[in-house]
């Protein structure tokens, strides 16, 4: 039932109607088609930098309220107690503010790095973490190209903390808290394919206003959060060198090699050992004959 509500939200937000038969969660394949996944489009040209999203995020996720007054010249990072931050960047086109949080990659490095499947991607899109599975190895943090997962170093029972796209709100048919509370309409929740269409539409309508690049469309194989901006994204603190290859691909070749070595090395070693033993026995007999 909950998934059904979530999909309803997706319909409402994206303005797309779905055929009833496709709504049954049970009938869906474990991995929904990429186009079906939900995400958020962030239009940094509309962002006022008011930080309402930060406060809404804290309230929705039972986190301490962020500090009201901050030093705008410092680039802040997300933390275990603050899953989203808005930073201001001085650019050639004046100051630009941008909200940052987990990008919810389509093929998340963190989830493929997790040896207990504590970190995993919901078929609908959000990347979540399960307390009962995690052993706190922090390999997700080493692997994440955006450094999204944060660890509670000050706790004897530490958790990995990051944006979960307000999964519980999604299940109740609501939009993520940051989206719902953005007074400027800079955030739009919906299906990723629709958000990409919307992003392209905006760029086409005002080609001078935007750089012709939707960050997250192809980066690391695509992310659920998508960004529009008036300046190149590296000026807004986005890593420009992450490439378009999904991160799990980097370990794929190694992991392919594992079954090969595991099955082929033992018989080869056994054969080698037999051969050397046969030679030894032969040599031993020769010596005895002398």
């Amino acid at each position: 039932m909950k998934r059904r509500d979530l999909l309803k939200t997706m319909c409402a937000a994206g303005g797309v109607s779905l055929v009833g038969g496709r709504l049954g969660a049970e009938e869906r394949p474990p991995t929904a088609p990429l186009a079906d996944r939900v995400g958020v489009l962030v239009d940094t040209t509309k962002c006022l930098g008011c930080r309402m999203c930060e406060f809404a995020c804290a309230t929705a996720n039972d986190l301490p309220q962020p500090e009201a007054s901050i030093d705008r010249s410092v680039e802040r990072q997300t933390s275990p107690t603050q899953w989203t931050v808005v930073n201001r960047y001085e650019t050639a086109k004046g100051p630009v503010t941008a909200k940052r949080q987990c990008m919810h990659c389509l093929q998340p490095a963190c989830a493929s790095a997790c040896l207990t499947k504590a970190m995993y991607k919901e078929p609908e899109g959000p990347v979540r973490w399960r307390e009962s599975k995690c052993m706190g190895c922090r390999f997700c943090m080493v692997s994440c190209p955006f450094d999204a997962p944060k660890f509670q170093y000050d706790s004897p029972v530490p958790k990995i903390q990051k944006c979960v796209m307000c999964w519980e709100r999604l299940e109740q048919g609501e939009r993520p808290a940051c989206v719902a509370n953005c007074p400027a309409g800079a955030l739009q929740f919906g299906r990723r394919s629709d958000l990409l269409d919307e992003g392209r539409r905006r760029i086409a309508l005002e080609p001078e206003k935007y750089v012709h690049h939707i960050y997250g469309e192809r980066e690391v194989g695509g992310t659920s959060w998508l960004y529009l901006a008036s300046v190149p994204f590296e000026q807004l603190g986005f890593p420009a060198d992450v490439g378009e290859t999904p991160f799990p691909v980097y370990t794929r070749e190694f992991l392919y090699g594992v079954p090969l070595v595991l099955t082929l090395a033992p018989p080869l070693l056994l054969a080698l050992s037999r051969a050397s033993r046969a030679r030894q026995i032969a040599e031993g007999e020769e010596e005895e004959e002398r």
Binding site: Q77, S79, A109, A111, S112, A113, C114, L115, T116, K117, A118, S132, K133, C134, M135, G136, C137, R138, F139, M141, V142, S143, P145, D147, K150, F151, Q152, Y153, D154, S155, P156, V157, P158, P239, D241, V242, G243, F247, P248, Y250, T251, E253, F254, L255, V258, V261, L262, A265, P266, L269, L270, L272, S273, S276, R277, R279, Q280, I281, G284
Partner: protein, 421 residues
């Protein structure tokens, strides 16, 4: 055990068990002088380490480490686990030479090398538990309620565990001899070849797997150390890392435990070291060639002019090239001090390399660098001290440095058993 309890078909449980108990208690007692400088210093370190670990588990990792959101893996992973496991590589190389290639010359050092490897895994890979934020969940990937099979760390964790078992089986005949369980020993001895083959396979995979952990840290590890060949480089370097450790540790063991060293090992020890030096030199030239190919393919020329480039050259030339040449010259001229110096340089080079990948070159672009706290260092030293204690206890009691040479053919084994009986 059972055969001891049965005598002439009538079980005599009580007296045998009591005798076994007294034997164990007697063996557990420390031997030699207690108040040596080594004992005093290591006891202090272990005690302090224990106190620090209590704080760490009560207050979280941040209480005694300098780990941060930017640097989630520090000294404990980079040195204890990643470097420690490379140093433990000697066990799979020596068992390969002895049991697979049949190079009997190296047989006398098999047990001490396997013991060292086993203890290194127990303590250094075990140090992983200290670093885990939620160690009580460590069984999750083992018991099967959440198999993260797409994770390199999943492979590494399983292989650590299985390899520890394989190494224990490889060493177990020595335990059986110590306890006087002859029939058990014969069963365990029959498992050796299987354990060796399994162990070599596992070693190849997890030695490379430790490097593969960093494949997804693309962009975080300095380009001079990042390449898709990290796993291969880690395996190849584990060969000479492990053997250099065998040379280094063997030289010390030979002096400290002189009374425990058997005749054959005493007679052939120098010859063995020379042989190992030659293999090290060979493996190091292969490694250097591989590094050169990776360097050219990675188009790394541009980085050479930077400080990182100088640091990289120091590692490759100073701590691989130079010791490789020393190994070769030490082997040719038969000079053991040169070989020992080369082994020490090589070990330092491995520490450099593993730390450059995992700690020093990790997030090299950040202004604020991770430096371990003194407390992280003390815990690391405590782990090493505890390992040496156990090693010393075992070497002083079990037939590790001196044992009956057994021909690998079934015939020979039986013959020796009869002699022993």
């Amino acid at each position: 055990m059972t055969m001891h309890l049965v005598d002439g078909g009538r079980p005599r449980f009580g007296p045998e068990l009591r005798r076994f108990g007294t034997f164990l208690l007697g063996e557990l007692k420390p031997r030699g002088r207690l108040l040596t400088p080594f004992n005093v210093i290591t006891s202090a370190i272990v005690l302090l380490g224990g106190v620090l670990l209590v704080i760490r588990f009560a207050k979280g990792l941040g209480s005694i480490t300098n780990l941060s959101q930017d640097v989630p893996w520090g000294l404990w992973i980079g040195f204890d686990v990643i470097t420690g496991v490379a140093f433990a590589g000697g066990a799979y190389v020596v068992t390969f030479m002895v049991y697979i290639l049949g190079q009997e010359k190296y047989h006398p050092i098999v047990r001490v090398t396997v013991l060292n490897g086993f203890l290194a895994y127990v303590f250094y890979a075990g140090a992983l538990l200290l670093d885990l934020g939620r160690p009580w969940n460590v069984i999750n990937p083992i018991i099967g309620n959440s198999f993260g099979v797409s994770s390199v760390l999943f492979l590494v964790a399983w292989h650590f565990m299985l390899y520890m078992m394989a190494e224990f089986i490889e060493f177990s005949p020595a335990v059986a001899e110590w306890l006087g369980w002859r029939r058990v020993r014969r069963v365990l001895k029959a498992l050796t070849l299987g354990a060796v083959i399994f162990g070599i396979t596992l070693s190849l995979l997890h030695q490379s797997g430790l490097g593969a952990l960093y494949l997804m840290a693309k962009g975080k590890v300095h380009p001079l150390w990042y390449s898709e060949f990290i796993p291969i480089l880690f395996v190849v370097s584990s060969v000479f890392a492990g053997l250099s450790m065998v040379i280094f540790e063997g030289s010390i063991t030979h002096k400290v435990f002189h009374h425990r060293v058997g005749q054959r090992l005493r007679a052939t020890h120098d010859d063995i070291l020379r042989g190992l030096a030659r293999i090290c030199a060979g493996a190091m030239f292969v490694y250097l060639f591989l590094q050169l190919i990776v360097f050219v393919h990675g188009q790394r020329w541009t980085y050479l002019g930077t400080g990182w480039g100088a640091w990289y050259l120091l590692e490759i030339v100073g701590f691989v090239g130079v010791p490789a040449a020393l190994f070769l010259s030490g082997f040719r001229k038969g000079r053991l001090p040169v070989i020992r110096a080369a082994a020490v340089l090589t070990l330092l080079g491995i520490v450099l390399n593993r730390l450059n990948v995992s700690v020093i070159g990790f997030k090299w672009y950040m202004a604020e660098r991770y430096v371990p706290t003194w407390m992280e260092i003390v815990v690391t030293l405590a782990v090493i001290s505890a390992e040496i204690w156990v090693f010393r206890w075992v070497v002083n009691r079990m037939p590790v440095l001196s044992f009956a040479e057994v021909d690998r053919t079934g015939e020979g084994e039986r013959r020796v058993d009869i002699v022993a009986a």
